[in-house]
Protein backbone atom coordinates (compact mmCIF):
# COMPACT_ATOMS: atom_id res chain seq x y z
CA UNK A 1 0.00 0.00 0.00
CA UNK A 2 1.21 3.51 -0.78
CA UNK A 3 0.72 6.40 1.60
CA UNK A 4 0.50 9.62 -0.38
CA UNK A 5 0.98 12.88 1.47
CA UNK A 6 0.27 15.93 -0.69
CA UNK A 7 0.74 19.30 0.97
CA UNK A 8 -1.11 21.41 -1.61
CA UNK A 9 -4.37 21.00 -3.50
CA UNK A 10 -2.50 20.83 -6.83
CA UNK A 11 -0.34 18.00 -5.50
CA UNK A 12 -3.44 16.21 -4.26
CA UNK A 13 -5.13 16.45 -7.68
CA UNK A 14 -1.94 15.27 -9.40
CA UNK A 15 -1.69 12.31 -7.04
CA UNK A 16 -5.33 11.36 -7.64
CA UNK A 17 -4.81 11.63 -11.42
CA UNK A 18 -1.74 9.45 -11.15
CA UNK A 19 -3.40 6.85 -8.92
CA UNK A 20 -7.18 7.08 -9.36
CA UNK A 21 -7.65 4.00 -7.17
CA UNK A 22 -6.07 5.79 -4.18
CA UNK A 23 -8.60 6.26 -1.39
CA UNK A 24 -8.70 9.80 0.03
CA UNK A 25 -8.50 9.93 3.81
CA UNK A 26 -9.32 12.99 5.87
CA UNK A 27 -10.67 12.37 9.40
CA UNK A 28 -10.47 8.61 8.87
CA UNK A 29 -13.73 7.96 10.69
CA UNK A 30 -15.07 5.87 7.78
CA UNK A 31 -11.95 4.81 5.90
CA UNK A 32 -10.03 3.53 8.93
CA UNK A 33 -13.00 1.45 10.12
CA UNK A 34 -12.99 -0.36 6.79
CA UNK A 35 -9.23 -0.91 6.94
CA UNK A 36 -9.26 -2.01 10.60
CA UNK A 37 -11.95 -4.57 9.81
CA UNK A 38 -10.24 -5.80 6.67
CA UNK A 39 -13.19 -4.70 4.54
CA UNK A 40 -10.97 -2.66 2.27
CA UNK A 41 -7.36 -2.90 1.12
CA UNK A 42 -6.84 0.06 -1.23
CA UNK A 43 -3.56 0.13 -3.14
CA UNK A 44 -2.97 3.62 -1.77
CA UNK A 45 -4.20 6.04 0.87
CA UNK A 46 -4.25 9.70 -0.14
CA UNK A 47 -3.94 11.67 3.09
CA UNK A 48 -5.57 15.06 2.60
CA UNK A 49 -4.74 16.16 6.16
CA UNK A 50 -1.71 18.09 4.93
CA UNK A 51 -3.71 20.22 2.48
CA UNK A 52 -4.33 23.25 4.67
CA UNK A 53 -6.77 25.07 2.36
CA UNK A 54 -9.28 22.22 2.70
CA UNK A 55 -9.71 23.07 6.37
CA UNK A 56 -10.95 26.60 5.67
CA UNK A 57 -14.40 28.01 5.03
CA UNK A 58 -15.34 31.39 3.60
CA UNK A 59 -18.38 33.40 2.61
CA UNK A 60 -18.01 34.03 -1.10
CA UNK A 61 -20.53 34.89 -3.79
CA UNK A 62 -23.42 34.72 -1.36
CA UNK A 63 -22.55 31.14 -0.43
CA UNK A 64 -20.65 29.53 2.38
CA UNK A 65 -17.82 27.62 0.73
CA UNK A 66 -17.08 24.91 3.24
CA UNK A 67 -13.72 23.23 2.63
CA UNK A 68 -13.88 19.45 2.42
CA UNK A 69 -11.55 19.12 5.43
CA UNK A 70 -13.50 21.27 7.89
CA UNK A 71 -14.39 19.01 10.84
CA UNK A 72 -17.93 18.81 12.23
CA UNK A 73 -16.68 20.44 15.44
CA UNK A 74 -15.87 23.61 13.47
CA UNK A 75 -19.23 23.56 11.66
CA UNK A 76 -20.91 23.42 15.08
CA UNK A 77 -18.74 26.13 16.68
CA UNK A 78 -18.53 28.55 13.77
CA UNK A 79 -21.44 28.04 11.37
CA UNK A 80 -24.53 27.55 13.54
CA UNK A 81 -25.77 31.00 12.46
CA UNK A 82 -25.58 30.83 8.65
CA UNK A 83 -25.97 27.05 8.31
CA UNK A 84 -28.28 26.02 11.17
CA UNK A 85 -29.54 22.81 9.54
CA UNK A 86 -26.07 21.49 8.82
CA UNK A 87 -24.86 22.53 12.28
CA UNK A 88 -27.77 20.70 13.94
CA UNK A 89 -27.02 17.57 11.95
CA UNK A 90 -23.32 17.90 12.80
CA UNK A 91 -24.16 17.91 16.51
CA UNK A 92 -25.73 14.47 16.12
CA UNK A 93 -22.67 12.91 14.47
CA UNK A 94 -20.90 10.25 16.56
CA UNK A 95 -19.13 11.56 19.65
CA UNK A 96 -16.94 14.59 20.39
CA UNK A 97 -13.88 12.59 19.28
CA UNK A 98 -15.57 11.72 15.97
CA UNK A 99 -16.76 15.30 15.43
CA UNK A 100 -13.20 16.53 15.99
CA UNK A 101 -12.03 14.45 13.02
CA UNK A 102 -14.96 13.70 10.74
CA UNK A 103 -15.79 16.13 7.92
CA UNK A 104 -18.72 17.02 5.68
CA UNK A 105 -16.40 16.38 2.72
CA UNK A 106 -15.74 12.87 3.99
CA UNK A 107 -19.46 12.31 4.49
CA UNK A 108 -19.99 13.26 0.83
CA UNK A 109 -17.10 11.07 -0.31
CA UNK A 110 -18.49 8.05 1.56
CA UNK A 111 -21.99 8.83 0.19
CA UNK A 112 -23.67 6.56 2.71
CA UNK A 113 -27.46 6.93 2.64
CA UNK A 114 -27.24 7.31 6.43
CA UNK A 115 -24.72 10.18 6.42
CA UNK A 116 -26.01 12.98 8.64
CA UNK A 117 -24.88 15.91 6.46
CA UNK A 118 -26.83 14.88 3.38
CA UNK A 119 -30.43 15.79 4.37
CA UNK A 120 -29.58 19.38 5.41
CA UNK A 121 -27.40 19.83 2.30
CA UNK A 122 -30.33 18.71 0.13
CA UNK A 123 -32.81 20.92 1.97
CA UNK A 124 -30.51 23.96 1.69
CA UNK A 125 -29.78 23.20 -2.01
CA UNK A 126 -26.07 22.89 -1.53
CA UNK A 127 -23.69 22.36 -4.45
CA UNK A 128 -20.64 20.11 -4.29
CA UNK A 129 -17.41 21.46 -5.79
CA UNK A 130 -15.25 18.67 -7.20
CA UNK A 131 -12.08 18.95 -9.22
CA UNK A 132 -9.71 16.91 -11.34
CA UNK A 133 -6.32 17.81 -12.77
CA UNK A 134 -7.51 16.94 -16.28
CA UNK A 135 -10.94 18.60 -16.44
CA UNK A 136 -10.88 21.23 -13.73
CA UNK A 137 -13.79 22.13 -11.49
CA UNK A 138 -17.30 20.67 -11.68
CA UNK A 139 -20.17 22.01 -9.60
CA UNK A 140 -22.66 19.24 -8.77
CA UNK A 141 -25.95 20.04 -7.00
CA UNK A 142 -26.30 17.81 -3.93
CA UNK A 143 -29.52 16.37 -5.38
CA UNK A 144 -27.50 15.03 -8.33
CA UNK A 145 -24.47 13.95 -6.34
CA UNK A 146 -25.83 10.77 -4.72
CA UNK A 147 -26.19 7.96 -7.24
CA UNK A 148 -26.59 4.80 -5.16
CA UNK A 149 -25.67 3.15 -1.88
CA UNK A 150 -22.21 4.57 -1.18
CA UNK A 151 -21.94 5.72 -4.81
CA UNK A 152 -21.63 9.33 -5.91
CA UNK A 153 -21.12 11.36 -9.07
CA UNK A 154 -17.44 11.75 -8.18
CA UNK A 155 -15.17 10.42 -10.96
CA UNK A 156 -12.13 8.28 -10.02
CA UNK A 157 -9.67 11.09 -10.78
CA UNK A 158 -11.68 13.73 -8.92
CA UNK A 159 -11.51 14.99 -5.35
CA UNK A 160 -14.08 16.93 -3.37
CA UNK A 161 -12.79 20.45 -2.81
CA UNK A 162 -15.71 22.01 -0.94
CA UNK A 163 -19.44 22.20 -0.57
CA UNK A 164 -21.23 25.48 -1.25
CA UNK A 165 -24.17 26.08 1.04
CA UNK A 166 -26.44 29.12 0.75
CA UNK A 167 -26.77 30.79 4.16
CA UNK A 168 -30.19 30.27 5.70
CA UNK A 169 -32.84 32.85 4.88
CA UNK A 170 -35.42 31.11 7.05
CA UNK A 171 -35.68 28.49 9.81
CA UNK A 172 -33.99 25.10 9.30
CA UNK A 173 -34.34 21.91 11.31
CA UNK A 174 -32.84 18.43 11.37
CA UNK A 175 -34.39 15.44 13.07
CA UNK A 176 -32.90 11.98 13.49
CA UNK A 177 -34.17 8.72 14.92
CA UNK A 178 -31.74 6.54 16.86
CA UNK A 179 -31.47 4.46 20.00
CA UNK A 180 -29.65 7.09 22.04
CA UNK A 181 -28.60 10.72 21.76
CA UNK A 182 -24.98 9.96 20.87
CA UNK A 183 -22.99 7.51 18.77
CA UNK A 184 -25.96 6.78 16.57
CA UNK A 185 -26.06 5.93 12.90
CA UNK A 186 -29.43 7.26 11.79
CA UNK A 187 -32.30 4.80 11.66
CA UNK A 188 -33.69 7.55 9.48
CA UNK A 189 -33.52 11.33 9.43
CA UNK A 190 -35.25 14.36 7.95
CA UNK A 191 -34.17 17.94 7.28
CA UNK A 192 -36.23 20.97 6.40
CA UNK A 193 -35.27 24.46 5.25
CA UNK A 194 -37.72 27.30 4.70
CA UNK A 195 -36.82 29.66 1.88
CA UNK A 196 -39.28 32.50 2.60
CA UNK A 197 -38.08 34.82 -0.18
CA UNK A 198 -38.86 32.22 -2.83
CA UNK A 199 -41.79 30.90 -0.83
CA UNK A 200 -40.41 27.38 -1.12
CA UNK A 201 -39.55 24.69 1.39
CA UNK A 202 -36.58 22.37 0.94
CA UNK A 203 -36.46 18.83 2.30
CA UNK A 204 -33.96 16.03 2.73
CA UNK A 205 -34.55 12.40 3.67
CA UNK A 206 -31.75 10.34 5.22
CA UNK A 207 -31.30 6.61 5.65
CA UNK A 208 -34.66 5.73 4.12
CA UNK A 209 -33.75 5.07 0.48
CA UNK A 210 -30.69 3.87 -1.47
CA UNK A 211 -29.52 7.48 -1.51
CA UNK A 212 -30.29 10.60 0.46
CA UNK A 213 -33.11 12.30 -1.44
CA UNK A 214 -35.55 15.17 -1.43
CA UNK A 215 -39.27 14.67 -0.88
CA UNK A 216 -40.14 16.33 -4.16
CA UNK A 217 -43.91 15.93 -4.16
CA UNK A 218 -44.04 17.17 -0.58
CA UNK A 219 -42.00 20.23 -1.58
CA UNK A 220 -44.30 20.88 -4.54
CA UNK A 221 -47.36 20.60 -2.34
CA UNK A 222 -46.08 23.35 -0.06
CA UNK A 223 -44.96 25.51 -3.00
CA UNK A 224 -48.51 25.35 -4.34
CA UNK A 225 -50.60 25.54 -1.19
CA UNK A 226 -48.68 27.04 1.72
CA UNK A 227 -49.98 30.42 2.92
CA UNK A 228 -46.83 32.12 4.24
CA UNK A 229 -48.80 34.67 6.27
CA UNK A 230 -51.03 32.26 8.16
CA UNK A 231 -50.80 29.54 10.80
CA UNK A 232 -50.10 26.11 9.37
CA UNK A 233 -53.23 24.40 8.06
CA UNK A 234 -53.47 21.03 9.90
CA UNK A 235 -54.75 19.26 6.77
CA UNK A 236 -51.83 20.58 4.73
CA UNK A 237 -49.38 19.53 7.45
CA UNK A 238 -50.82 16.02 7.44
CA UNK A 239 -50.62 15.84 3.67
CA UNK A 240 -46.99 17.05 3.80
CA UNK A 241 -46.18 14.21 6.20
CA UNK A 242 -47.86 11.67 3.96
CA UNK A 243 -46.06 12.82 0.81
CA UNK A 244 -42.72 12.93 2.63
CA UNK A 245 -43.25 9.37 3.85
CA UNK A 246 -44.20 8.33 0.32
CA UNK A 247 -40.89 9.71 -0.97
CA UNK A 248 -39.02 7.23 1.21
CA UNK A 249 -38.05 3.81 -0.17
CA UNK A 250 -36.36 2.13 2.77
CA UNK A 251 -35.31 -1.44 3.49
CA UNK A 252 -35.50 -3.64 6.58
CA UNK A 253 -32.12 -3.85 8.29
CA UNK A 254 -30.55 -4.20 11.73
CA UNK A 255 -31.37 -0.61 12.64
CA UNK A 256 -35.07 -0.69 11.78
CA UNK A 257 -37.78 -2.00 9.51
CA UNK A 258 -38.89 -0.35 6.30
CA UNK A 259 -42.39 0.16 7.69
CA UNK A 260 -41.04 1.88 10.79
CA UNK A 261 -38.84 4.16 8.69
CA UNK A 262 -41.71 5.21 6.43
CA UNK A 263 -43.82 6.00 9.49
CA UNK A 264 -40.98 7.90 11.19
CA UNK A 265 -40.23 10.00 8.08
CA UNK A 266 -43.86 11.16 8.08
CA UNK A 267 -43.69 12.05 11.77
CA UNK A 268 -40.37 13.89 11.44
CA UNK A 269 -41.60 15.77 8.37
CA UNK A 270 -44.62 17.07 10.31
CA UNK A 271 -42.55 17.87 13.39
CA UNK A 272 -39.76 19.72 11.61
CA UNK A 273 -42.21 21.73 9.51
CA UNK A 274 -44.12 22.65 12.67
CA UNK A 275 -40.95 23.77 14.46
CA UNK A 276 -39.82 25.76 11.44
CA UNK A 277 -43.26 27.30 10.96
CA UNK A 278 -43.45 28.39 14.59
CA UNK A 279 -40.10 30.17 14.17
CA UNK A 280 -41.26 31.70 10.90
CA UNK A 281 -44.44 33.13 12.43
CA UNK A 282 -42.58 34.33 15.53
CA UNK A 283 -40.11 36.19 13.37
CA UNK A 284 -42.94 37.81 11.41
CA UNK A 285 -44.69 38.85 14.62
CA UNK A 286 -41.50 40.37 16.05
Amino acid sequence: MDFLRPTTWEEALAAKADQPEAVPIQGGTDVMVEINFDLRRPPALLDLGGVAELREWSMTGGHCRLGAGVPYAAVIDELGGPLPGLAQASRTVGSPQIRNRGTVGGNLGAASPAGDSHPPLLAARAVVEVESAARGVRMIPAAEFYLGVKRSALEPDELIRAVHVPPATGPQYFSKVGTRNAMVIAVCSFAIALHPRERRVGTGIGSAAPTPRRALEAEELLAAELDWDAPLDPALLRRFGELSARAAAPIDDVRGTAAYRVHAIGVMARRTLTWAWNDHLEKRAA
Binding site: I25, D47, Q97, R101
Partner: protein, 156 residues
Protein backbone atom coordinates in the same frame (compact mmCIF):
# COMPACT_ATOMS: atom_id res chain seq x y z
CA UNK B 1 7.34 3.29 6.08
CA UNK B 2 8.82 5.30 8.89
CA UNK B 3 6.65 7.59 10.97
CA UNK B 4 8.07 10.27 13.26
CA UNK B 5 6.05 12.34 15.68
CA UNK B 6 6.17 13.79 19.16
CA UNK B 7 4.66 11.63 21.90
CA UNK B 8 4.22 13.06 25.35
CA UNK B 9 6.86 15.69 24.62
CA UNK B 10 9.46 13.34 23.15
CA UNK B 11 10.17 12.75 19.48
CA UNK B 12 9.65 9.10 18.55
CA UNK B 13 10.13 7.16 15.33
CA UNK B 14 8.53 3.90 14.33
CA UNK B 15 10.05 1.84 11.52
CA UNK B 16 8.35 -0.65 9.23
CA UNK B 17 4.90 0.82 9.77
CA UNK B 18 2.28 -0.64 7.41
CA UNK B 19 0.53 2.14 5.50
CA UNK B 20 -2.92 1.07 6.68
CA UNK B 21 -1.85 0.85 10.31
CA UNK B 22 -3.57 2.97 12.94
CA UNK B 23 -1.90 5.43 15.27
CA UNK B 24 -3.24 3.26 18.10
CA UNK B 25 -1.32 0.21 16.86
CA UNK B 26 1.89 2.22 16.55
CA UNK B 27 1.52 3.61 20.08
CA UNK B 28 0.78 0.23 21.67
CA UNK B 29 2.79 -2.23 19.64
CA UNK B 30 5.73 -0.21 18.34
CA UNK B 31 6.34 2.52 20.90
CA UNK B 32 5.56 0.59 24.09
CA UNK B 33 2.69 2.82 25.19
CA UNK B 34 -0.17 0.42 26.00
CA UNK B 35 -2.15 2.94 28.05
CA UNK B 36 -4.49 3.72 25.17
CA UNK B 37 -6.70 0.67 24.88
CA UNK B 38 -7.67 -1.25 21.78
CA UNK B 39 -11.30 -2.35 21.91
CA UNK B 40 -13.76 -1.58 19.14
CA UNK B 41 -11.41 -0.31 16.39
CA UNK B 42 -14.31 1.69 14.94
CA UNK B 43 -14.52 4.83 17.05
CA UNK B 44 -17.49 3.60 19.08
CA UNK B 45 -15.95 3.08 22.51
CA UNK B 46 -13.48 5.92 23.08
CA UNK B 47 -11.00 3.74 24.99
CA UNK B 48 -8.17 4.75 22.62
CA UNK B 49 -8.75 8.51 23.03
CA UNK B 50 -5.53 10.54 22.73
CA UNK B 51 -4.72 14.15 22.02
CA UNK B 52 -3.59 14.83 18.46
CA UNK B 53 -2.24 18.40 18.37
CA UNK B 54 -4.31 19.20 21.49
CA UNK B 55 -7.56 17.77 20.08
CA UNK B 56 -8.96 14.50 21.50
CA UNK B 57 -9.44 11.85 18.83
CA UNK B 58 -9.85 8.09 18.59
CA UNK B 59 -6.34 6.83 17.85
CA UNK B 60 -7.82 3.76 16.13
CA UNK B 61 -9.22 6.00 13.38
CA UNK B 62 -6.05 7.98 12.71
CA UNK B 63 -3.81 6.40 10.08
CA UNK B 64 -0.31 6.29 11.54
CA UNK B 65 1.03 8.28 8.60
CA UNK B 66 -1.39 11.09 9.42
CA UNK B 67 0.47 11.62 12.71
CA UNK B 68 3.74 12.35 10.89
CA UNK B 69 5.31 15.51 12.34
CA UNK B 70 2.47 16.08 14.78
CA UNK B 71 2.07 16.06 18.56
CA UNK B 72 0.39 13.18 20.36
CA UNK B 73 -0.37 13.06 24.06
CA UNK B 74 -1.56 9.81 25.56
CA UNK B 75 -2.83 8.90 29.02
CA UNK B 76 0.81 8.19 29.92
CA UNK B 77 1.50 11.89 29.36
CA UNK B 78 -1.17 13.30 31.69
CA UNK B 79 0.74 12.92 34.96
CA UNK B 80 3.63 15.22 35.81
CA UNK B 81 6.27 12.65 36.74
CA UNK B 82 4.94 10.87 39.82
CA UNK B 83 2.28 13.50 40.39
CA UNK B 84 -1.04 12.44 38.98
CA UNK B 85 -3.18 14.95 37.14
CA UNK B 86 -6.17 16.12 39.23
CA UNK B 87 -8.46 14.17 36.88
CA UNK B 88 -6.52 10.97 37.56
CA UNK B 89 -6.51 11.60 41.32
CA UNK B 90 -10.25 12.20 41.31
CA UNK B 91 -10.91 8.94 39.42
CA UNK B 92 -8.92 7.02 42.05
CA UNK B 93 -10.59 8.74 44.99
CA UNK B 94 -14.14 8.45 43.66
CA UNK B 95 -13.87 4.80 42.72
CA UNK B 96 -14.50 5.70 39.10
CA UNK B 97 -12.38 2.73 38.01
CA UNK B 98 -13.52 -0.88 38.00
CA UNK B 99 -12.05 -3.12 35.30
CA UNK B 100 -10.09 -0.10 34.08
CA UNK B 101 -10.31 -0.73 30.38
CA UNK B 102 -12.24 2.45 29.53
CA UNK B 103 -10.33 4.55 32.07
CA UNK B 104 -7.47 5.86 29.90
CA UNK B 105 -9.86 7.18 27.27
CA UNK B 106 -12.15 8.71 29.86
CA UNK B 107 -9.18 10.40 31.54
CA UNK B 108 -7.99 12.03 28.33
CA UNK B 109 -11.51 13.07 27.34
CA UNK B 110 -12.32 14.43 30.82
CA UNK B 111 -8.95 16.20 30.91
CA UNK B 112 -9.80 17.94 27.64
CA UNK B 113 -13.24 18.94 28.91
CA UNK B 114 -11.77 20.64 31.99
CA UNK B 115 -9.15 22.40 29.88
CA UNK B 116 -11.91 23.93 27.76
CA UNK B 117 -14.72 24.23 30.34
CA UNK B 118 -13.35 24.65 33.86
CA UNK B 119 -16.74 24.36 35.60
CA UNK B 120 -18.84 22.09 33.38
CA UNK B 121 -22.52 21.44 34.04
CA UNK B 122 -23.68 17.83 34.34
CA UNK B 123 -25.12 18.06 30.84
CA UNK B 124 -21.75 19.23 29.52
CA UNK B 125 -19.95 16.37 31.27
CA UNK B 126 -22.38 13.83 29.84
CA UNK B 127 -22.04 15.28 26.36
CA UNK B 128 -18.24 15.32 26.55
CA UNK B 129 -18.12 11.68 27.66
CA UNK B 130 -20.86 10.44 25.31
CA UNK B 131 -18.32 8.63 23.14
CA UNK B 132 -16.58 6.79 25.99
CA UNK B 133 -18.28 3.54 26.90
CA UNK B 134 -17.95 2.01 30.37
CA UNK B 135 -19.61 -1.34 31.03
CA UNK B 136 -18.79 -1.54 34.77
CA UNK B 137 -19.47 1.62 36.69
CA UNK B 138 -22.84 2.84 35.47
CA UNK B 139 -21.07 6.20 35.02
CA UNK B 140 -22.22 7.77 38.30
CA UNK B 141 -18.80 7.58 39.94
CA UNK B 142 -17.18 8.79 36.75
CA UNK B 143 -19.42 11.87 36.85
CA UNK B 144 -18.53 12.30 40.54
CA UNK B 145 -14.83 12.16 39.63
CA UNK B 146 -15.13 14.78 36.88
CA UNK B 147 -17.08 17.09 39.22
CA UNK B 148 -14.44 16.64 41.93
CA UNK B 149 -11.56 17.25 39.51
CA UNK B 150 -13.28 20.40 38.22
CA UNK B 151 -13.73 21.70 41.75
CA UNK B 152 -10.11 21.03 42.68
CA UNK B 153 -8.71 22.54 39.53
CA UNK B 154 -10.91 25.62 39.95
CA UNK B 155 -9.93 26.17 43.58
CA UNK B 156 -6.26 25.51 42.80
Amino acid sequence: MRVTFTVNGREESAEGVWEGESLLYVLRERLGLPGSKNACEQGECGSCTVYLDDVPVCACLVAAGQAQGRRVRTVEGLADGDRLDPVQEAFVECGAVQCGFCTPGLLVQAHDLLERVPRPSDAEIREALAGNLCRCTGYEKILDAVRLAAERKATG
